[in-house]
């Protein structure tokens, strides 16, 4: 049985580059020197392990995890669900998925967010869960609202949920954003458009999933996440020169 080896090289032409002038904040926060490419050692192949003791089952229910007893968050009730897979198509089980978002009016519960849309007293805006043995995860939440942001004076973020995923090795660590099918703001967004390949952008747009709704109760969107895959070590590298 071949041993799992290094992670496949990250495709840096598929991900956004560091410097993306239309997303203005990147200009002063982008390294100018090239990244130095490392072959993976134990430091990159390993990563933190989480278990059910770390989180609470209610953490994945953003409609109720900050609500007063008997209350719930305001907005379009949605299930966001999908699988975490690797590039080999294998599920990534028991990995931590964290999510955060604005409320249905486009306002974040954050002391730095001063947008005039009101805070929802029953909505915190964060959740977390572990994938099951098949790599499956789900959240219940409300669909976030679009919001304005200071880039150009008339820049609006499409509705989105921020997602953080771990995988099994620190080299797989990923933060991304999930958008929703049909939103006309997606392709106008300078942050979305940091991604050069339209096909890669499509991978961040969750389709409506009528098969996963709860009829008369909650609509659903599907968002699969792919983390880097690992090589199989068929032949050990020769030690000379390593």
């Amino acid at each position: 049985m071949p041993k799992p080896g290094e992670f496949y090289q990250r495709d840096r032409e598929w991900h956004p580059p560091a410097l993306t002038r239309d997303y203005k904040t990147s200009v002063s926060r982008s390294p100018q020197y090239s990244l130095i490419s490392l072959q993976n050692s134990v430091s990159e192949i390993t990563g933190p392990v989480f278990g059910h003791n770390d989180i609470d089952p209610l953490d994945k229910d953003l409609i109720y995890n900050y609500a007063q007893p008997g209350e719930s968050a305001i907005g379009e009730r949605i299930i966001l669900h999908g699988r975490v897979l690797d590039e080999n198509g294998r599920p990534v089980p028991k990995t931590l998925v964290e999510a955060w978002q604005a409320n249905a009016g486009g306002r974040y519960r954050h002391k730095k967010d001063t947008y005039l849309a009101p805070i929802d007293p029953n909505f915190g805006g964060c959740g977390r869960t572990l994938t099951d043995e098949n790599g499956y995860y789900y959240f219940r939440t409300v669909k976030p609202g679009a919001y304005p942001w200071r880039n150009w004076v008339n820049s609006w973020r499409p509705a989105h949920i921020h997602m953080s995923i771990f995988g099994t090795g620190f080299a797989q660590r990923l933060i991304t954003q999930c958008y929703f099918e049909g939103d006309p703001l997606i392709h106008k967004c300078p942050i979305v458009n940091t991604i050069p390949d339209p096909e890669a952008i499509n991978r961040l747009i969750a389709p409506l999933d009528l098969n996963a709704t709860i009829p008369l109760d909650t609509i659903a969107y599907k968002f699969d996440i792919v983390l880097r895959g690992r090589r199989s070590t068929l032949f050990e590298n020769r030690l000379e020169g390593n």
Binding site: L35, N40, G47, R109, T176, L204
Partner: protein, 206 residues
């Protein structure tokens, strides 16, 4: 035409944005939601080795502190083992080796308490000098940045480290080495990160 390879493509990265705290450190965003936030205790109570603190600031290309950054640390224990099935060996009960910190919103200063890691195994032969792997995300950073913290009191191990030696510009290697100081009897290492410009920190594509 050929057969299809059928590999999937990695999900593209997007910036963590200015409100990353809500998701990953909600207490700092101004509200308590989780019974237990993750990543505030890296080493746990039973870890062997020297107790240390690492502090720093992340500086942008204009020379200003980045005040909305989030950093994650991943490290081995004092024996050089990571808390992972492929991590090289056992670790102490309660040692996770992973932590996350955010900066002070006013000053941009960050810091975390941990233990000094031991040397870890090299890729095929030899060892790597003690180091902490660091991942940095923030508004304006499109793909999280990976770097490493080495220690200036490990000059001999650093000189033999395979990753430091991959940095062909010797003066850039200094950007990866934290400086040891003492404060009130405690060991504090200083590790400032420069995202851009003069003495830009070395970042890795891992």
């Amino acid at each position: 035409m050929t057969q299809e390879l059928n590999y999937l493509k990695e999900t593209p990265s997007q910036t963590a944005g200015p409100y990353v705290h809500i998701g990953l450190a909600p207490g700092a965003a101004g509200f308590d939601l989780y019974k237990q936030e993750l990543g505030w205790d890296i080493a746990g109570p039973n870890a062997k080795g020297e107790r240390i603190r690492i502090e720093g600031i992340v500086i942008d290309g204009t020379g200003s502190p980045v005040k909305d950054v989030l950093l994650e640390a991943w490290q081995a224990n004092a024996d050089g083992n990571y808390a992972h099935p492929e991590g090289g060996g056992d670790v102490e009960q309660g040692f996770r080796g992973w932590g996350r910190v955010i900066t002070d919103f006013e000053t941009g200063e960050w810091g975390f308490n941990t233990i000094k890691p031991g040397s870890t195994q090299g890729r095929n032969v030899g060892t790597q000098a003690p180091h902490i792997n660091l991942w940095i995300v923030a508004r304006g950073i499109n793909v999280g940045l990976n770097t490493r913290i080495y220690f200036d009191d490990e000059a001999e191990a650093n000189a033999a480290d395979p990753v430091l030696n991959l940095v062909e510009w010797e003066r850039r290697r200094a950007t990866l080495i934290a400086k040891r100081t003492e404060r009130d009897g405690a060991v504090v290492y200083r590790f400032d990160v420069k995202l851009q410009g003069e003495d830009e920190t070395v970042f890795f594509d891992i």
